[in-house]
Amino acid sequence: MILDGKCPKGPIQTSWDRHRFDLKLVNPANKRKYKILVVGTGLAGGAAAASLGELGYNVEAFCYQDSARRAHSIAAQGGINAAKNYPNDGDSIYRLFYDTIKGGDFRAREADVWRLAQVSNNIIDQCVAQGVPFARDYAGYLDNRSFGGAQVSRTFYARGQTGQQLLLGAYSALARQVKAGSVKLFQRTEMLDLVVVDGEAKGITVRDLVTGEIRTHVGDAVVLATGGYVNVFYLSTNAMGCSVTATWRAHKKGAFFANPCYTQIHPTCIPQSGEHQSKLTLMSESLRNDGRCWAPKKKGDNRPPNEIPEEDRDYYLERKYPSFGNLAPRDIASRAAKEQCDEGRGVGPGGRGVNLDFADSIKRLGEDTIRARYGNLFEMYEKITDENAYKVPMRMYPAPHYSMGGLWVDYNCESNVPGLFVLGEANFSVHGANRLGASALMQGLADGYFVIPYTIANYLAKTKPGAVKADNPECKKSIEDIKAQTNKFLSINGKKTVSEFHRELGKIMWENVGMARSEESLKDALKKIPVLREEFWKNVKVTGKGEELNQQLENAGRVADFLEFAELMSKDALHRNESCGGHFRVEHQMPDGEAKRNDEDYCYAAAWEFKGVGNEPELHKEPLTFENVHLAVRSYK
């Protein structure tokens, strides 16, 4: 099937305004008759639930944490982009649009990206009105910083906790609606199934994580804003509970999964310190402004870094990319670090790390200047590693960070299943094959505050409110299925824990479907994943009962889904026989190691249809056309 993103035709500059006029409305008196289920309370879901509640819809919002404020958006550090052009340095909606398309290596839909750039300015205003304490200058004006992939300063920030402050803003708007009675919150509640009635999304089946109760909530539309899936790698910068479960189970009920192979590996994270490691911590990319990356020239050189003389060091980024040096783009920097370690020249425990050395900068600028620039990062680093980076180089290693892929949606953020809308990191819409820094926060809030309130009305206006009741056979069936799965987990009583399986899956994915992928590695993954999955269903051990708080059981469901999803991700990576953005196929590279796209054959979004576990999924293509930017080789030289 050729998919249609249903973008407005005509000049892109006015496309969103014209589209908004064409969308149907729901009259104010009727809004409260419609119930909308919003799964996820991060930037995307929190903003959506608050805005829809304020409009008068009857909203139920769900999250697995004990508070809406704890969604993983809370962990974002750096900042949020907007095309305000406050610094007068040449920014514009067009430039933000252009940078995002180019940053995504020409694999995103133009109209969606244009809209994102257009509403970016409203986001900043909205957050200021909520009391988000953005950084300001002494005159009281909003301050900006620069981020990768852009030559203008368009990033707004709140110290190193931008995500936290934006989320607390959305959370406060949500709290206001809870008080007003328009939003009902269900915390510690996990969505485990999508209920589809006559082809349309009309409910979700959830498990109450405190009592273990499994029940269905019915509504007139379902909004998924459940975040990203990079925990498929086991170790990542995501929170422990982040999973593919909500989107995967919607996929199994008919929603297409788009570009699952597009994942972002962030170059500067604190390396794993041992087998016990449970997650990885990101360190801001800005460190590469003053830090020099190097590895010992000799394999297995165990000397402390400060005792390795200059001539025995390889400043590999400076050597390989003389024009960009240590500021080579994210994907290149990540792959280069991996290469050093693969060759046996990595540093630190397990040899999975490279040095990020500040000694020269400290000599040149003084320790105080470095402290003023990065003090909080050095402190964070010391907390985890117990090392003083003013004295010895930091050790860094790339880590899975963000998923550009997600459920396929059209311009209205509606999936191919009518009534199912997908927002934020959970959808595939705007970042193409690579996301630029400070653009995920922007997307989440754009979708939640300024897109879904308009587009959902267009669907609801065509439906009769309350058409599906809780006693619908589809609801009953869904509950039975989930109960059966729960019982299955508890009855296997095998020998390996859920975490052991997750770790093993993570290893397969990291080694074969990570920073560098080849036909061989992907085929290897496709051989190993089903074997591991089969073993999981025979040999996993989950203790306790279903009718109680049972964290092993929660985790078992998430890992079971990753074991299925991993196969689709590998298939997508194998099918995409080109390199683009974060998807790097070693067979396709430029002489300088840059990703080599193949626009002739792969200038499309790949949307996969589920055909049963272990069965060949069906590929649907949405061709991408570029009318407002010139399809060109991405270069940052």
Binding site: A47, S51, Q65, D66, S67, R69, R70, H72, I74, K84, Y86, N122, I124, D125, Q126, V128, A129, Q130, G131, P133, A135, R136, D137, Y138, A139, G140, Y141, A158, Q164, Q165, L168, S172, A173, A175, R176, V178, K179, Q187, A239, M240, G274, H276, S278, T281, P349, I384, T385, D386, E387, Y449, F450, P453, T497, S499, V542, T543, G544, E548, L549, Q551
Partner: protein, 254 residues
């Protein structure tokens, strides 16, 4: 430099186990073996749990998510101190190198009247949510707000608001307070919003509503022990409590 040491430790744990809200609870003893100094405190608990599961026993339930000190989910009293007593450190940021081989560690849930125990180390913190819902917001609508630079905010005020806004809502302040008061938590939000021009219009109603909610939800009064500030993993200052008191007085005499 203690990193990369291969010396592992054996630690005796005394962990609060309680099957449910109404079940009796007691401290159980476990041995954590081969603990690496580079391991985080929660990773040490993970391994104890792996052993428990393999032995067919119920693993220790504890809250956690981000494991980098920002989500506010982790919550245990470690050797009598919420989050373990390292300066500006959450339980998930605590590393085993701060302990020695042979140490005993007591691990208990937040204890406060307003936080009923759900299971083991997990408590119900919904009372904190209800304080926010009472007034922890500005009543702006989505859309229809002025340009972000239309109202200037002097840097000192923006910084003051940010200092208060760093609260992660974990509830350690409540657990540390002999009265089980949520004063630090509540005051941080009141201070943030009352210093910003966007929040001033509703300052009086807000402080009254939030203080009322605090009292209605089972939190005790503040009698200036300041244990909250000492326990706060984000270093939120008790100066915000003074600010709340001033705002409250102003509101009463309005």
């Amino acid at each position: 430099m203690s990193a990369h040491t291969s010396n592992t430790m054996t630690i005796t744990l005394h962990v609060w186990r309680q099957a449910g809200p109404n079940a009796p609870g007691k401290l159980e003893q476990y041995e954590a073996k081969n603990v690496s100094p580079d391991q985080s405190f929660l990773e040490m608990l993970d391994e104890v749990n792996e052993d428990l599961i393999k032995a067919g026993k119920d693993p220790i339930a504890f809250d956690h998510d981000c494991r980098e000190g920002i989500c506010g989910m982790c919550s245990s009293v470690i050797n009598g101190v919420p989050h373990g007593g390292q300066v500006r450190t959450t339980a998930c940021q605590l590393h085993m190198r701060t302990f020695k081989d042979g140490d005993a560690i007591y691990i208990e849930p937040w204890r406060a009247k307003a936080f009923p125990i759900i299971k083991d180390l997990i408590v119900d913190r919904n009372a904190l949510e209800r304080i926010m819902q009472a007034g922890g917001y500005t009543s702006c609508h989505t859309g229809g707000v002025p340009d972000g630079n239309a109202i200037l905010i002097p840097k000192p005020e923006a910084d003051y608001a940010m200092d208060a806004a760093e609260c992660i809502g974990c509830g350690a302040c409540v657990a540390a307070c002999p009265n089980g008061s949520a004063m630090l938590y509540t005051s941080a939000k009141v201070a943030q919003l009352s210093v910003l021009p966007q929040g001033k219009a509703e300052a009086a109603e807000r402080v009254c509503a939030m203080v009322d909610a605090m009292q209605e939800n089972g939190f005790g009064n503040c009698s200036n022990h300041y244990e909250c500030q000492a326990a706060c993993p984000k270093g939120i200052s008790v100066k915000f409590i003074a600010k709340l008191n001033r705002e409250y007085q102003k509101a009463l005499f309005k």
